[in-house]
């Protein structure tokens, strides 16, 4: 049974939950450090799958390696080890020429909308470039570019403007349009709204949601703002120091975090409740995120974990399937019932 390609006019297309559009398998990306002989372990053994039609949110502090995963998926960095399969094809092992055709199917929107547009090209020329490079610049395709421009909320008067004449939000809309020109099925949004101010963020996020349905996209949404990622994602993965700590459906992960790091992240989120009414337990992390050149032994989170035991500093926790579509890397979590520690549990929101 093949999945019918959703057309732009259909209502919500049926999502085939069983199929995976992207599979990342034991991905490691180590950079050579400027000084010292220890490599920077930007991504250190990450496995995750993105299902057809879903939005997968990847969240983590800066330096946790979430953007590097996005770049590895786009093959902008070469993985040190591990594999990336897109639609069943091993993109991490393909030659540049083999990859060129396939690149039409997965595209990225970067964080910095200004740097992502060539200042010497008019908007329309930037949008046409992917078609020209791919040899698809037929008159019909070029006309479609105009439609796409209006679809992201920019009228035709923007066609012949230069990037410096646009605001940040408008530039990011152009970047989104450019990512959609080749009609991809997977879109990587690498902190795509982080550089925009809050009101524009909301607009662009809602546009993503609409475009996702309209174009039948699967999305890898990378971000550091819990609220933003949660708003748009079906499932989320929480990263810390190059490793996944927890992965599962968004609501479950946020309502009942299983990993101490997720719980800490959740409790650090600002809430709109008077202080007297706050019932949620606040977990304060001490110290800084350790250097990825010298990651801690055992569980990378143990130096900052309030519940760390002896075993945490010696043994790397297993990436464990705890049921209900959830995965956790913690010695003390073996089922979705949670962590054995008394202060554990769902941080109740007022």
């Amino acid at each position: 049974m093949t999945e019918p390609k959703p057309s732009a006019t259909s209502v919500v297309p049926a999502v085939d939950r069983s199929g995976e559009i992207l599979a990342i398998d034991g991905l490691k990306v180590h950079y050579k450090a400027r000084q010292g002989k220890h490599p920077v372990r930007a991504v250190d053994g990450v496995s995750l799958q993105i299902r057809r039609g879903e939005t997968f949110g990847l969240i983590g502090e800066s330096g946790s390696g979430k953007s590097t995963i996005g770049r590895a998926v786009m093959r902008l960095v070469e993985p040190t080890s591990g594999r990336v399969h897109f639609d069943g094809k091993p993109i991490s092992a393909m030659s540049r020429r083999q990859l060129k055709q396939l690149r039409r199917r997965f595209q990225i929107v970067f964080q910095d909308p200004t740097s992502a547009l060539d200042p010497r090209k008019t908007i329309i020329n930037s949008l046409r470039e992917p078609l020209e490079v791919q040899g698809l610049a037929t008159p019909a395709a070029l006309d479609r570019v105009d439609l796409l421009l209006s679809r992201v909320g920019l009228n035709t008067s923007f066609r012949d403007r230069y990037p410096h004449e646009l605001s940040g939000g408008q530039k990011q809309r152009v970047n989104i349009a450019r990512a959609l020109v080749l009609d991809p099925v997977l879109l990587v949004l690498d902190e795509a709204v982080s550089a925009l101010d809050v009101s524009v963020q909301a607009e662009v996020l809602n546009m993503f949601a609409a475009l996702k349905v309209e174009f039948g996209l699967s999305v890898l949404f990378i971000g550091h703002d819990l609220a933003v990622v949660a708003h748009i994602s079906d499932r989320i993965g929480v990263m810390y120091l190059g490793k996944l700590m927890e992965l599962g459906p968004t609501d479950e992960v946020l309502d009942q975090p299983l990993h101490p790091y997720t719980a800490a992240l959740r409790s650090a989120e600002p809430e709109v409740v008077p202080p007297s009414d706050r019932v949620r337990h606040r977990i304060l992390l001490t110290g800084e995120i350790p250097s990825p050149t010298h990651p801690p032994s055992g569980c990378v989170f143990h130096p900052r974990c309030p519940y760390a035991q002896e075993v945490c500093s010696t043994t790397v926790p297993e990436w464990r399937d705890v049921g209900d579509d959830r995965w956790v890397a913690c010695h003390f979590v073996t089922s979705v019932d949670g962590h054995p520690h008394p202060t554990w549990g769902s941080p109740a929101l007022g």
């Binding site: 060539d118 490079v133 230069y162």
Partner: protein, 322 residues
Amino acid sequence: MTSSPLTSDAPLAEGSPLVVNEAPSRRQTPNRRRAAAVGSWLRSDRRAQFGVGFLVLVLLAAFAAKLFAQNPLTQDLNHILDGPSGKHWLGTDDLGRDVFSRLLGGSLVSLRASCIAVGVALLIGVPLGLLAGFRGGITDEIVMRCADTLLAFPGLVLAVGVVAMLGPGLTNAMVAVGIVFAPSLARLMRAQVLSVKEHLYVEAAVTFGSSTGQIVKRHIIPNAVQPVIVQTSLLFALSLLAEAGLSFIGLGVQPPDPSWGSMLGRAYRFMQTAPLQMIAPGLIVMITALAFNAIGDSLRDELDPIRRRRRRFSRTDASVVP
């Protein structure tokens, strides 16, 4: 009335406003568009008008001089170092030759000489700088250390060395000057490429499948070349002076052929007795150098969308005020 004269040759289907708007821009050939761009550049910038205008004037005068002016090589030893007169507009030199016709005859020699020098410098410096900046690593090291070595040499000594190797003559001398200029262009290009290639639009181009060649051609070169253009215009001026210097010490143009540099060289010897001799060739070297600089500055602004827009706007504003 069936159709307007403007659209009479268009098929009937192009009646919708969308198609009619599209049609002219699609039909425009790249050459015609380029010509239109050059036209609007020349119309909108006074610096360009001055620079291009002056150079065209010099070239026209030089060709006209071949037909109408006195022979720049004819000596009249009864009238040496004369002041301006009706017969000799700018006087005569130490061999009684007409300064005005030598000046015009020398202009072609001098301009050709600086074109050779700048051409050689561009051909060597820009590709090597691009390569060093884009490839980085060991390529960068090798190219830049060679450039450093060349820069460590005094320019004139290097030029003299190259001329000694290739034999005297204006072409060889200017090739030597071009080699002396090349390292500075290579460094400039490398520095530009290093900063341009860090931009996300280069990575974006990778993600939709551009080859390295396409990225260099579409993104790296157009964004990196701006200061190189300005530097090139400065090099034109500098190579005029280098030609003057080399001809002055006898390594450039060979007597009796005129060039601005050799005229300056000869006039210098009679500075005490006939100071006016230096003024004409000195002045024309200066104005030509200024013309090249003006073109370079104007071209830099024109090629940069941000500056171009700003200039056009400010000009419009200025013209509104009475």
